[in-house]
């Protein structure tokens, strides 16, 4: 007999972890990516030193494997949420892991914006802040949405890993029932749910990106 309530709760936990982690990571990663891009040489807030520092932090943090990051930040997690196990605790490493990823994704989306648009806005007397808000972000939005979709999909996978060390969610369930109690059907169902989640996120992400691209088709 399937533990239906367990499955349902685990799905909710996974969705909760991923959504909260994505929001926190975006709140940091989006400005980070914007500063990363605009501080590049020749850009509106050119600052080579700042750019170097931010780029190095991105590269270093992105090269730490998630499983190690999860353990390494336990002290921080304790300070922030008061415990190192549970869904809220898992959100800390998940957000930290997604921040530099989003920063890069945003930077890459901004690199696709035609420099002629900045020129046009400058010729209209726009300030740097106005260029960021009215040109860079709206013009890069389809790319940013694609990048965020990618991030969410990765976080769904990572959240399963976090579950394995007591974070709750579908990963936790799969390991407790599927691995430790040899209940293959639970394992399979969790996988199916994960696939559905990923598909749904990808579908919505693609639709949104396409809508904001305003290509007219």
């Amino acid at each position: 007999m399937f533990p239906m309530t367990l499955l349902f709760n685990a799905t909710i936990e996974t969705v909760y972890m991923v959504i909260v982690a994505t929001i926190i990571a975006t709140l940091v990663g989006l400005p980070w990516g914007i500063v990363l891009y605009t501080s590049r040489r020749g850009n509106i807030l050119a600052h080579p030193l700042l750019y170097q520092v931010l780029a190095i932090i991105v590269n270093v943090t992105r090269s730490i494997p998630f499983i190690i990051l999860m353990i390494a930040v336990i002290p921080l997690t304790r300070i922030l949420v008061g415990s190192s196990i549970g869904t809220n605790a898992a959100i800390v490493p998940l957000s930290l892991c997604a921040m530099p990823f989003i920063a890069r994704v945003v930077e890459n989306a901004l690199l696709e914006v035609d420099s002629g648009l900045v020129e046009a806005a400058t010729s209209m007397g726009a300030t740097a802040w106005q260029i960021i808000c009215k040109v860079f972000i709206p013009e890069a939005l389809p790319g940013i949405i694609n990048g965020l979709t990618l991030t969410v999909v990765s976080l769904i996978g990572y959240s399963a890993m976090a579950g394995a060390v007591g974070g709750g969610g579908l990963g936790d369930l799969a390991i407790r029932y599927g691995y430790q109690r040899f209940d293959t059907s639970v394992m399979l169902i969790t996988i199916v749910i994960m696939i559905v989640l990923v598909q749904a996120v990808q579908l919505v992400g693609d639709k949104l990106a396409k809508w904001y691209a305003h290509t007219g088709q």
């Binding site: 035609d114 806005a121 010729s123 209209m124 007397g125 726009a126 009215k134 013009e139 691209a213």
Partner: protein, 349 residues
């Protein structure tokens, strides 16, 4: 309205310093359409980008509407830029905004209310014939329509001056004409001063009052457009005019064209009838008087600002001894003669 004094611009690259502009002096009068023509790499974009300080000149003064831009603070410069509209070769419209919102951008930047924006934008949509495209996104528009949106956007903040960086270079000839017509039209109705750069003589011909030639970063010739076409001073000017008035030589001739005279060849001449000299009588005259066989390869008479100007390409065959006197005869009747080259006699023209 626009004055550039001793403007120099150098680009510093890893390979050294590139002098893109050298001692540029320009004065554009209010209400004038001033064109700058030059080949690719001459420094046209650098020059026009210096006028609103998108590019800072290395030295020199830039004065627009009595304000010396180079001395302004960042905030004052932004305010001054609102009064200098600019349009670009690749339109530079925001793909994330529809036509109406693109035109609204400069007004948003200046903090106008929605009501003020609507009052400004609706007449502009009408002026640029875009009222029915108001909700369309740039991806749904043709090149000409995009440039009209860009023009409306540039006019939204009611500028004194409009800068045009090759605004018609990405458009087909027919659309180019409608855009140039629109520029003339807004100059007349809004009393705007327009500075445009182009590499196409046809643009100068169809809408400018004055023209200057930019060659390797230097202004080498400046004149009122009618005078420019009828009394070109430099070789560069003549070449620009010839290339705009005449097509290429027929391929059969072009292939066999020799730079120097050789036995059994005859000359190809380019004749400039600048002072409105009637063309036909002179040609038949030399044919009769010197017993020469004249083949008109191309002929074109243009009317630019009420000046008639003709350019003709002819092949001149006959006794060698008669050819020089014929050329002399033409020159005496103030026809400018230029020997383009020589073609072997056995080539059928």
């Amino acid at each position: 309205m626009i004055t550039l004094e001793h403007v120099h611009k150098n680009y510093t690259t890893s390979k050294g310093t590139i002098p893109a502009l050298r001692d540029i002096n320009i004065h554009v009068n209010p209400g004038e359409i001033f064109g700058i023509i030059g080949k690719s790499g001459a420094g046209k974009s650098s020059l026009i980008r210096c006028v609103n300080l998108l590019e800072r000149p290395s030295s020199g003064k830039i004065i627009v509407a009595n304000e010396e831009l180079t001395t302004l603070s960042a905030a004052k410069l932004r305010a001054a830029r609102r009064k200098i509209g600019m349009i670009f070769q690749h339109f530079n419209l925001l793909s994330s905004r529809n036509v109406y919102d693109n035109i609204a951008l400069p007004l948003e930047l200046a903090g106008h209310t929605h009501k003020q924006m609507e009052d400004t934008i609706m007449p502009l949509l009408e002026l640029t014939h875009l009222t029915d495209k108001k909700m369309a996104y740039p991806a749904q528009l043709s090149g000409g329509q995009k440039q009209r949106v860009a023009i409306a956007r540039a006019l939204a903040s009611k500028p004194h001056v409009l800068l045009s960086d090759e605004a018609t270079s990405a458009l087909d000839p027919e659309t180019t004409l409608t855009i140039l017509q629109l520029l003339k039209n807004i100059r007349d109705t809004l009393n705007l001063t327009i500075l445009l750069i182009t590499h196409e003589m046809s643009v100068i011909k169809s809408c400018c009052d004055r023209v200057a030639i930019l060659q390797e970063g230097e202004l080498i010739e400046e004149n009122e457009v009618g005078e420019f076409f009828t009394h070109p001073k430099t070789e560069v000017a003549k070449n620009f005019i010839a290339s705009s008035v005449l097509q290429h030589l027929p391929a059969a001739i072009e292939r066999h064209l020799l730079a120097l005279e050789q036995p059994d060849t005859h000359p190809i001449l380019r004749l400039w009838f600048l002072q409105g000299t009637a063309t036909q009588p002179i040609i038949s005259e030399i044919s009769r008087q010197f017993n020469l066989h004249i083949n008109i390869l191309q002929a074109n008479v243009e009317y630019i600002k009420n000046h008639a100007m003709g350019i003709m390409m002819i092949a001149l065959r006959g006794e060698n001894a008669k050819i020089q006197p014929a050329i002399q005869y033409l020159k005496e009747r103030s026809v400018q003669v230029e020997v383009v080259g020589y073609v072997p006699n056995d080539i059928a023209v």
